[in-house]
């Protein structure tokens, strides 16, 4: 059922009511990503939509979990119901603006460097945690990076000249170990959702890397592979969501 509030007009009035209503589609799903079949949708969710506090729509989701929300004045409220009582409320804000660029925005403060990625992941239903102006993890504050994690010292080994050459590769490897600032400007929620996205998409290696350039001491081949994977991740994200 759908209703909209209008003003009563005098007979033959030259005035008129304009229904400034847009319809947006919200999918409630058990897992994120574009719905490829009914299997992901949350069926039988009882809901109501309110505009300006008035109930304007009621219904129950089908197999795909879809709610066509009629939004008046750029805002609406969706309430999930149980026994006809609201149990979870969503404030719908329609944003006509474009997504931010998907590439890392170097030079901006850490919280704003990956907004384009965050917006797209969020659009697909990936969970970024909390924080940011919408409290949905987009542009959430990034905690300051901590120090390198090191193994506890072993004085006996440090004093043992053999251990400096024992398994020569060990020392060489330790020097070559991956040093990474690649994750320093990601919140936990952003890294997790990026990993989730990579795992969910066939043909992408799961690395969470959005900045292969920040990985040092990598072999050229490894760096090239990670960089190619990073590009593929962003291209896939743009391909699915759009610019």
């Amino acid at each position: 059922m759908t209703t909209a509030a209008v003003s009563r007009l005098a007979l033959e009035s030259a005035l008129f009511n304009t229904l400034n209503v847009v319809t947006v589609t919200v999918f409630f799903q058990k897992s994120p990503g574009k719905p490829k079949s009914g299997a992901r949708g949350i069926a039988s969710l009882q809901f109501q939509v309110k505009n300006d506090g008035q109930v304007v729509q009621t219904g129950k989701t089908g197999a795909n979990g879809k709610i066509e929300v009629r939004v008046s004045g750029g805002k609406a409220t969706v309430e999930l119901l149980h026994n006809n009582e609201p149990v979870s409320t969503y404030e719908i804000l329609v944003d006509d603006g474009p997504f931010d660029p998907v590439d890392k925005q170097t030079g901006k403060e850490p919280a704003l460097r990956h907004v384009g990625i965050q917006q797209r992941l969020r659009h697909l239903g990936y969970q970024l945690g909390r924080g940011g102006s919408d409290d949905d993890g987009v542009a959430a504050a990034v905690p300051a990076p901590g120090p390198d994690r090191k193994a506890p010292p072993d004085p006996e080994s440090e004093a043992d000249p053999d251990d400096q050459k024992d398994d020569k590769k060990s020392t060489e490897r330790a020097k070559k170990n991956l040093k990474s600032a690649a994750y320093d400007d990601l919140t936990a929620g952003t890294e997790r959702s990026l990993l989730d996205f990579q795992a969910d998409e066939d043909g992408i290696r799961v690395s969470g890397v959005v900045d292969a350039g920040a990985l040092t001491n990598l072999d050229d081949d490894d760096r090239a592979e990670l960089e190619a994977n990073r590009k593929k991740t962003l291209e896939r994200l743009v391909q699915i969501v759009g610019e």
């Binding site: 897992s31 804000l93 193994a151 050459k165 170990n177």
Partner: protein, 382 residues
């Protein structure tokens, strides 16, 4: 309070919940780490069975109760959420009674009842009541317990004993520490349906390397100097052959290992176990890093798991937050810049102990649970 959805391009997808480990902190058998990497389920190993769930995956030993948590990502904190399971002959809800509503920390307990070939179970979080809409799903694989035996050797090399961090080196005291370590190891391996049992503990002593007739290079230490033919693999082989017990995993506790390493495993089929039995060596130094978790890691190697973050050329190639949660990750050398990399759910600077169930195609070192169970089966047949 309302959750805000900023709708772009006139569509938006909401995924209200996901499943996660019930607690943060050191591993214990009640609170396993699920494989919550992505929502795609990947290819399951033969005989595991398949559900239509899309979400996290967990392993439960038959007869075991475990605790999990629903993470409310995009649903009101007060919305009533219930847990249901299916099929009833494989799994049951142990708490809360009637499956809900979940309260406080949103934890629940489920019990795996039996391991049946080609069948697995599903846990569902529902809104409102036990018949309400399904908000999210978890796939459960229930495994019959496989018990592997360990024989612990507390080795004195040229008069310097393994002390396991104790002042005393009495067999009883050393054995008690080893038993405590194995208890944690069992908590880590419980989701894979594997248990280790300390069958015997021995005090062993060695001064010379049988192959060369020369003494161990450094008292108390298993050396490995590749340029010195008399040392090279020979000290490792000498330890692995020391009083080796049949039909068991021989774990040798020594004071030190080459390169300041915490542990070492000679894996069946590798050069380290070519002319000697396979086995595990654990150093006293590992006490600083968590000797129980070092033992769990080395037993993983013994059961054919490699480092997942290692390439042919570089030791540590991957340091994402999922990699850091894995038992087999080469933790000691990992940078921990963002705070969520320093604490991956087990405490600050504590290595993760997750064992993967999913098998993502491009990660050739995945599906660890299936590898472990296959190797445990082979081990029991030997």
């Amino acid at each position: 309070m309302a959750l805000r959805l900023r709708v772009r391009r006139k569509t938006h997808i909401v995924t209200p919940v996901r499943f996660a480990r019930a607690i943060t902190g050191l591993p214990n058998a009640l609170d396993p780490d699920p494989d919550d990497r992505g929502f795609a389920m990947s290819t399951r190993p033969e005989f595991w069975g398949v559900t239509d769930a899309r979400g996290a995956m967990i392993g439960i030993t038959a007869g075991q109760t475990v605790e999990m948590r629903v993470l409310r990502e995009d649903i009101d904190g007060a919305a009533p959420v219930f847990i249901t399971v299916t099929p009833a002959d494989l799994i049951e809800v142990a708490a809360p009674a009637s499956g809900g509503p979940l309260t406080g920390s949103d934890t629940f307990q489920i019990k795996g009842l039996k391991d049946e070939p080609n069948k697995c179970a599903k846990v569902q979080a529902r809104l409102g009541d036990a018949k309400g809409p399904v908000l999210g799903e978890l796939e459960c694989h229930i495994f019959a317990l496989k018990e592997l035996h360990i024989v612990a050797h507390f080795v004195t090399i040229r008069g310097v004993p393994a002390t396991l961090g104790l002042g005393s080196v009495s067999l009883d005291a050393l054995k008690k520490v080893a038993e405590e370590d194995i208890r944690t190891v069992n908590a880590i391996y419980r989701p894979a349906g594997i248990q280790f049992e300390l069958r015997d503990a021995r005090i062993d002593s060695i001064d010379d390397v049988p192959e060369t007739g020369k003494p161990f290079k450094v008292p108390g230490k298993v050396s490995f100097v590749i340029e010195e033919p008399d040392v090279s693999f020979k000290e490792v082989k000498a330890i692995m052959a020391l009083n080796s017990a049949a039909h068991a995993i021989n774990v040798y506790y020594v004071h030190r290992i080459f390169g300041g390493n915490n542990g070492f495993a000679a894996r069946r089929g590798t050069i380290f176990a070519k002319d000697n039995p396979p086995g595990v060596v654990i150093s006293d130094h590992s006490r600083l890093m968590g000797a129980d978790r070092t033992l769990a890691h080395e037993l993983g190697h013994y059961l054919q798991l490699p480092h997942p973050d290692q390439s042919e050329k570089v030791f540590v190639t991957k340091v994402d937050m999922w990699m850091l949660r894995r038992l087999m990750q080469h933790a000691a050398l990992t940078p921990g810049h963002p705070p969520h990399h320093d604490d991956v759910g087990y405490g600050s600077s504590v290595r993760g102990t997750g064992i993967t169930l999913k098998d993502f195609g491009l990660d050739t070192r995945d599906s660890e649970c299936a590898i472990l169970r296959k190797e445990a089966r082979l081990e029991l047949g030997r």
